[in-house]
Amino acid sequence: MTKQVQQLDRVIIRFAGDSGDGMQLTGDRFTQETASFGNDLSTFPNFPAEIRAPAGTLPGVSSFQLHFADHDILTPGDAPNVLVAMNPAALMANIGDLPRGADLIVNIDEFTKRNLAKVGYATNPIEDDSLSAYRVYPVALTSMTVKALEEFDISKKDAERAKNMFALGLLSWLYHRPTDATVGFLEQKFAKKPEIMKANIAAFRAGWNYGETTEAFSVSYEVKPAKLESGHYRNITGNMALAYGLIAASRQSGLPLFLGSYPITPASDILHELSKHKRFGVRTFQAEDEIAGVGAALGASFGGALGVTTTSGPGMTLKSETIGLGVAVELPLIVCDIQRAGPSTGMPTKTEQADLLQALYGRNGEAPVPVIAPQSPNDCFTSAIEAARIAVKYRTPVILLSDGYLANGSEPWQIPDVTTLPKIEPGFTTTKTAESADEADEAFEPFKRDPNTLARPWAVPGTPGLEHRIGGLEKADGTGNISYDPNNHDLMVRLRQAKIDGIANDIPPLEPDDPRGPDGTGAKVLVLGWGSTYGAIAAAVRRVRKSGGQVAQAHLRHLNPFPANIAEVLKSYDRVLVPEINLGQLALLIKGKFLIDVISYNRVRGFPFKAEELAGVIQDVIDSE
């Protein structure tokens, strides 16, 4: 039977099931197949903080959304075109996001009286007409999987668990995905359990064959590869890119990487990843707590390593005092805050941008710290190198503000040519630099600053003749000796601030994307964002422009200091709209620093913005002009 093949330019699929159903793995595999096929893509894993919430319940639902296209895309998509629901809980938790006319593939085997009752369905939604707005494909995923695996010497439970591979096989057929990599992946994953391996591969193939033979699916879909810039690509999550960026920074600086970290969601994957790369001389230290994690990193920096700590909001709070010490002793230190919904424990697996003010100001005293926020999973790589560059050049802690959405989300990454990566010069001081013969006998001055950068010398233990002491007490300018002199303190506070402020001249200017209109004029409305909202804002801006609206977009990667030209850019627009996943923290900074009134748009739902939602907001601002 030949089936009809329909061409699509993009598709958004959401896999949803119980935490134990393997939805993240299924989504990951489908993503890999899609990536290797050459589509552009963006993913959004969404899972509960509980490792295994009670099976079949709403809190236990885990999902993975994937947006793929034949052109470049910016977000994991607003609403799925296809929902795969592995049980009634998954259906109930996700149906609200499904637009009318979307495809719904459900595992009817799980729609038992008991499971329906668990989530409060009085009647079976597959059988009543409550789903009539959708194209429903009831598939007996579990029983077909079990049947397909009859001949294998595995338990019924193991056979049932392979149903996600059956589903993956079916979807792979439906969207013409290449399957070799998944087979290879299963071979590797279950190398030590050959029977399970063969069973999973068989389930995957059975799903594919089912799609091909059943009459239930009469159409399959094709999404052509996207025309991306030529080069080698791989798919990468933000956390992985960040870990790679840190290793690259270590290589580019010649400084051994030292990670002091304490496990915390959603940052732990960076610790896991870096601990695999010992062959790069990477030292990973799982500390007794967050404070020890950053303390050990700072201690390693004192010894001449690239000291890094990784954490999320609650851990940032605990690290504040040590970051303040880093400011006082002026040593390089990279602090990665993978933000999550707060306050306190908040929603550990959900994303948020509400640590911005904490990053800038969450320390006692005047303790300025450069803050950098990556704007996409890929950009975590570049941002990590940039954080290292600034930390080393200016002898300062740098805070890297990623978030849960970037951390776990993925997209294709054009693998960079390592010869093009920037070099980072550690610039250790190895001898006393005496400007005159008189000074030759004088003690080394650990706080004598470089006149251009205001950075202090970095002389590491083991360097003869430069023995010196540093600490959290106020230091005399130059000598670094303890000083309680009022004027010296005033000077040192200002010097430390001036050093950080001066970085503004060492970062790229803010360049708004502002295509001229037909009459040659630019937009009147600027959307200013920072961090992970880049994709959603850019997608929204595209939509607005498509429908004839004129709008400019600027995105901040450097939050402290701001690019030198920021005020100038902002003042050249009538209206500045600042969407943030917090209650207006960047907006507060802009208003406070530049006396520029901005329009805030804030949602703190633990989810990224949707492009459609932002497009509406932008249009409203344009219309109110």
């Binding site: 201690g299 250790f428 002491r469």
Partner: protein
Amino acid sequence: MNDAGTNGSGPSENGSGNGVAGGLALIPRTDAKQTAKDFKTDQEVRWCPGCGDYAILAAVQSFLPELGLRRENIVFVSGIGCSSRFPYYMNTYGFHSIHGRAPAIATGLAAARPDLSVWVVTGDGDALSIGGNHLIHALRRNINLKILLFNNRIYGLTKGQYSPTSEVGKITKSTPMGSLDSPFNPISLALGAEASFVARTLDSDRKHLQSVLRAATEHKGTALVEIYQNCNIFNDGAFEPLKDPAVRDEVTIKLEHGQPIVFGADHEKGLRRSAAGGFEIASASSPDIVVHDAHNPDPSQAFALSRLDSPGFEHTPIGIFRQVSRPTYDELMREQIDEAVAQQGEGDLAALLGSGDTWLID
């Protein structure tokens, strides 16, 4: 930087060959003659006159030259408190950090740099109260650190509140009707935290203090040295029975590995195991006087010795309670790196970035 900081290269890991003890094996040495003066800085020492810290500082400065280490390879790290000013007075590298966190900072430094002799100077409040967590983990990890815990049983720098080693009922500014909480016994705590080297000494007994420091520096791994230190301003005479020539010999039990545990002015008393499992005092001539075995893998005996402490100092052991050899964290960390390099070769950045499922777009 010195490349000993990277893949564990540098001087030979096995120190026994050149006669250098384990704890110092990787630290560069000098033939230049050093004196105590070489370790003094130009900073004015600002402890209260009469403070026990002076004696400890002088003892450390006059002891270090005998190690023959390059001065630039020695680092003193401290927290906050009177004792934590110590690094400012040592002409080595130094890091005066934040309250309680010195062991954590020193851990990162020692793990990153095997060629450094890293010392932590801390007090009873710093190490046992705000920094208790870091102390116990540094001890169990057994990283190459020497921790000098100046125990004066009081908060000096904040002007006289009771500390976690103050005796119950201590009247201080914050406890006008007496403190309520039971103190820690730092030796018992360290033994419980799997410490491989645990010792106690006195600020006023330079000879004993230096002998303990010597053993601590030679020890490979974390060494905890509790130093009873007099704070003459807020807790004067706290350890008087151990210092008063009239009684000190009667109440001080000097522990020496391999020697029977006897004490008293005429060595007339000794320790034997009691039926209850602890120690009891017997005549030195009893046949069952226990021989001190600091190298015993089982810490029970050392722990029982630590429990002899009493608020009135009727019988207080000093010396090395425990000194056992086990792998250090920093050494194991280097071994893993070396093993990874040996098995997979040195890291290749381009290969790493291009690993996993990749595809080519022309």
